[in-house]
C-alpha cells in the first residue's frame, strides 16, 4: 500500500466542489431563498449578526445559506466580510429607554411603569413537536389581534427606578476620569489587559453564546456567585444615530433590533461603598435573551476586582474570559490542528527516539 503524502490544487478544487454539491443537497428540493432564511430562521440570523458584529440581516442570511447552516461558519464569513468595510462614523450610544418595545419583563417587580409586556417568547410554550408545521402547506396562522391599548411610550428602565433611591450603584462612565475620551473599539484596536469595562462589554457582545452561557451558568452554581435577579429584559427596535461632522446634530440612520438585559446583583458593601445592588449588563443584536442574560451575568462576574471581591472563579477572570470568548478565534485555532505538522512532529519524534535510546542504554541523552 502506498501512502500519498501531499495534497495539491486538484484536491482542494475537488473538495470545494463536493462541499458545494452537498450544501445544495437534493436538486429536486427547492433551494432556500434568502428571504426565507431571514424571516423564518430569524433567530439564527440574529446570532450571526451579533457574533459577526455586523448588523445586516440579508448578509447574515446569505452567510447561513453559504455555510450550510453552520452558525459558527456563517459568523466567520460575516466577520471576514466586515474586514473589507471602511469605518465611516461612530454612532451615538443607543438609547434603549426609547426602544420601541416588543417585549419587556422584570423579575423583580410585579408591576412597574410601562407594565410587563410578554411579547413573542418561547417561555411558557410546551416543547412538544408541532407536527402541523411538518405539513407541506402549513396553515397560515392568523396574525394576532392588535393590543387593546397601545404600549406606554414611557418605559423607564427598572435600574433607573432603583437608582432614584440610591439602592443601586449609579452606572458609571466607563472612563470616569476622562469622560470625553472616545470609547475604545475592539474592531479597530487590539485587546490588551486590563481591558476595562467598555472593551469587556464589546468582547462579550460578540462573544460565543455557548461559552458565555456556560460561564454565566457556572457563576450561578457557586463559581464566582453574584446572586443575580433579572431586573429587566427588553427587546425591540432602537434608533441608531450619528452626528455627521458637517451637520453637527444627530441624524437617524436606521433602526436595529436589540435585546437588553439588566441584571441586579447583591453587594455586601466594602470599605468605601455602602451595601447596595450592583449591575450586570447585556446588550445583543437581534432577539436573543439567552445571550443577553448570559452576558450580563458574566459582565457582573468580571466586575469582581472593581468591587473589591476576590477573584476565585473562571467567570471572574478577565484574561481567561476575554481571551477565549471569540468563536472565530476559538474555532480557527482548534481546527488548525488539522494543518500539517510534519516538521514539528518530526522534531518531536527525533527527540523522543533519542530519549528512549538513552533510557534503554542508561546513558545520557546527549549523544
Amino acid at each position: 500500500m502506498y501512502v500519498a503524502v501531499k495534497g495539491g490544487e486538484a484536491a482542494i478544487d475537488a473538495a470545494h466542489a463536493q462541499l458545494a454539491d452537498l450544501r445544495r443537497g437534493d436538486r429536486s428540493v427547492a433551494a432556500l431563498s434568502l428571504d426565507q432564511i431571514r424571516d423564518q430562521m430569524a433567530l439564527a440570523v440574529a446570532r450571526v449578526m451579533a457574533e459577526g458584529s455586523l448588523y445586516d440581516p440579508d448578509l447574515a442570511a446569505l452567510a447561513l445559506k453559504q455555510a450550510w447552516g453552520d452558525v459558527a461558519e456563517a459568523i466567520f464569513l460575516v466577520r471576514a466580510y466586515r474586514t473589507t468595510l471602511p469605518r465611516l462614523a461612530a454612532t451615538r450610544p443607543l438609547d434603549t429607554a426609547r426602544m420601541v418595545v416588543r417585549r419587556r419583563i422584570s423579575a423583580t417587580f410585579k408591576d412597574l411603569p410601562g407594565g410587563q409586556v410578554l411579547g413573542p417568547t418561547f417561555d411558557y410554550t410546551h416543547r412538544l413537536l408541532d407536527f402541523a408545521l411538518a405539513a407541506e402547506d402549513e396553515p397560515l396562522a392568523e396574525p394576532p389581534p392588535p393590543a387593546e391599548a397601545p404600549l406606554d411610550p414611557d418605559m423607564p428602565r427598572v435600574t433607573d427606578i432603583l437608582g432614584a433611591d440610591g439602592l443601586i450603584e449609579p452606572e458609571s462612565d466607563p472612563d470616569a476620569d476622562n469622560p470625553d475620551a472616545p470609547v475604545p473599539d475592539l474592531t479597530r484596536e487590539p485587546l490588551t489587559f486590563p481591558a476595562g469595562r467598555a472593551m469587556r462589554l464589546q468582547v462579550l457582545a460578540r462573544g460565543d453564546e455557548g461559552f458565555l452561557l456556560s460561564l454565566g451558568y457556572s457563576s450561578q452554581r457557586g463559581h464566582g456567585g453574584t446572586h443575580p435577579f433579572a431586573g429587566e429584559i427588553r427587546m425591540g427596535e432602537v434608533e441608531v444615530e450619528i452626528i455627521p461632522e458637517d451637520l453637527g446634530f444627530p441624524v437617524t440612520i436606521g433602526t436595529v433590533t436589540a435585546t437588553e438585559c439588566q441584571m441586579i446583583n447583591q453587594f455586601q458593601g466594602s470599605k468605601t461603598k455602602p451595601p447596595q445592588f450592583t449591575r450586570g449588563y447585556g446588550l445583543v443584536f437581534g432577539f436573543n435573551e439567552r445571550k443577553a442574560m448570559a452576558m450580563s451575568l458574566v459582565d457582573r462576574a468580571l466586575r469582581a476586582p472593581d468591587l473589591g471581591e476576590p477573584v476565585v472563579a473562571p467567570a471572574q477572570d478577565e484574561e481567561f474570559v476575554l481571551s477565549h470568548a471569540d468563536v472565530v478565534e476559538a474555532s480557527g485555532f482548534v481546527q488548525h490542528l488539522k494543518l500539517p505538522h510534519y516538521v514539528d512532529f518530526q522534531a518531536e519524534l527525533d527527540s523522543v527516539r533519542r530519549m528512549r535510546r538513552a533510557a534503554e542504554t542508561g546513558e545520557g541523552a546527549d549523544s
Partner: protein, 311 residues
C-alpha cells in the same frame, strides 16, 4: 501574472488597516524581538491558519513583488496552496516556488534551505507569539516579565529539562534571545532552522493574527538560541541523507511509505529537493518504487501558470 479581483482592495485590507499594520511592523523592526500589539482583522482564512502572516504580507506586498508561500517547507501543502491562491486573487502578483526568485516568502514552520539575500523578506506565521506562555498563562504577567527582562522562568524550564531528560527537550519553537534583549518565539520552526536567523542578511517579520502581535528581526541582528555552557545548543542531525536528492544538509521529513514499516526520509523543503534532483543529484531511494512515486507527487505540482480554481 493574473489580474487581481477588482471586487476587493489590492491585498484585501483597506488602506487604513494596511497603514496601521505597517506602523506596527516599523515599530517591531525598531525594537527587535518585541511583540507589538496590533488591531488584527478577521481575514477570510481561519485563525491559526496563517492570518497573522497573511496580514503582514498583505500590508507590505506591492504589484512588483514575487511571492512564495510554504508550509512545512513545501509549496504544495494544501494550506500553502490556499494562501498562495488568496494572494493571487487579491493582488494578482506573480507567485513562484523558487526560493531565489521570491521577494516575499510567507512561511509556516520552516526557513528555506537555500540562503536568502538582502532583497528578500521572510514572513512567519505564528500561532503563539509568547515564548513564556506555557510557563505563565497571563499576558499581563508575561508583558511585565519582558519589560523587566525577567527570564528566570525560561532558564528554569530549560534546566528542568536537562535534570529530567538529560537534554533540553524543546525540539521546535526553540526560544531565542534577540539583540541581547528580548526572548522571542521563532514560531514552530524546528530548532534546526534557528541558526539561519542569526545575523541574517534578510528582514524577518512575524505575524500572529489570533493573538494580534507582530514582531521582527531586522537584518544582521543577533539571534541566539538559549542554552547553558555545559549544555550548548545543538540542532537536529541525521545519520542519513535525503532519499530522493541525497542532500546531507537539509531538514528531513519522515514519510511512511507502506504499512510494513517502510520509511523514506526526504527534504521538507520541496524546492530545494527538486532543484537538487534537477541538477542531477540522486538519493539512495530515488530509483525505488516508493521513491519514484513520492518524487512524482512532489514534482507533479508545477503551479506557476495554473488558473484560479474555485475560490
Amino acid at each position: 501574472m493574473t489580474q487581481h479581483d477588482s471586487g476587493v482592495t489590492f491585498g484585501y485590507l483597506d488602506e487604513q488597516t494596511k497603514r496601521m499594520i505597517r506602523r506596527a511592523v516599523l515599530k517591531a523592526v525598531a525594537i527587535p524581538g518585541y511583540q507589538v500589539p496590533f488591531a488584527g482583522r478577521e481575514m477570510p482564512l481561519p485563525y491559526g491558519w496563517g492570518t497573522g502572516g497573511i496580514q503582514v504580507t498583505a500590508s507590505i506586498i506591492g504589484p512588483d513583488d514575487v511571492l512564495k508561500v510554504i508550509d512545512q517547507g513545501a509549496d504544495d501543502t494544501t494550506n500553502a496552496v490556499s494562501i498562495r491562491r488568496f494572494f493571487r486573487r487579491v493582488t494578482g502578483v506573480r507567485t513562484t516556488e523558487h526560493t531565489t526568485e521570491a521577494t516575499l516568502i510567507q512561511t509556516r514552520h520552516r526557513i528555506p534551505e537555500t540562503p536568502l539575500g538582502p532583497d528578500q523578506i521572510l514572513i512567519y506565521q505564528v500561532p503563539i507569539p509568547e515564548p513564556l506562555r506555557f510557563m505563565e498563562a497571563r499576558e499581563t504577567e508575561t508583558r511585565r516579565m519582558h519589560a523587566l527582562a525577567d527570564y528566570g522562568v525560561m532558564h528554569v524550564k530549560l534546566y528542568e529539562d536537562i535534570s529530567q531528560y538529560g537534554r533540553i527537550a524543546k525540539a521546535y519553537d526553540y526560544p531565542v534571545m534577540v539583540n541581547g534583549r528580548y526572548v522571542m518565539a521563532p514560531s514552530p520552526i524546528p530548532k534546526f532552522d534557528n541558526p539561519k536567523m542569526h545575523d541574517a542578511p534578510f528582514l524577518q517579520l512575524f505575524g500572529a493574527g489570533r493573538e494580534k502581535r507582530i514582531y521582527a528581526v531586522p537584518p544582521h541582528t543577533s539571534v541566539v538560541s538559549l542554552d547553558f555552557e555545559d549544555h550548548p545548543f545543538e540542532v537536529q542531525s541525521w545519520d542519513r541523507v535525503c532519499d530522493l536528492c541525497g542532500a546531507d544538509d537539509s531538514y528531513l521529513d519522515e514519510v511512511v511509505t507502506d504499512d510494513a514499516g517502510g520509511r523514506l526520509f526526504v527534504c521538507s523543503d520541496s524546492d530545494y529537493c527538486a532543484g537538487r534532483r534537477a541538477a542531477g543529484h540522486e538519493g539512495p531511494a530515488a530509483a525505488s518504487a516508493a521513491g519514484a512515486a513520492l518524487s512524482e507527487t512532489m514534482t507533479a505540482v508545477s503551479r506557476e501558470a495554473d488558473g484560479e480554481g474555485t475560490p
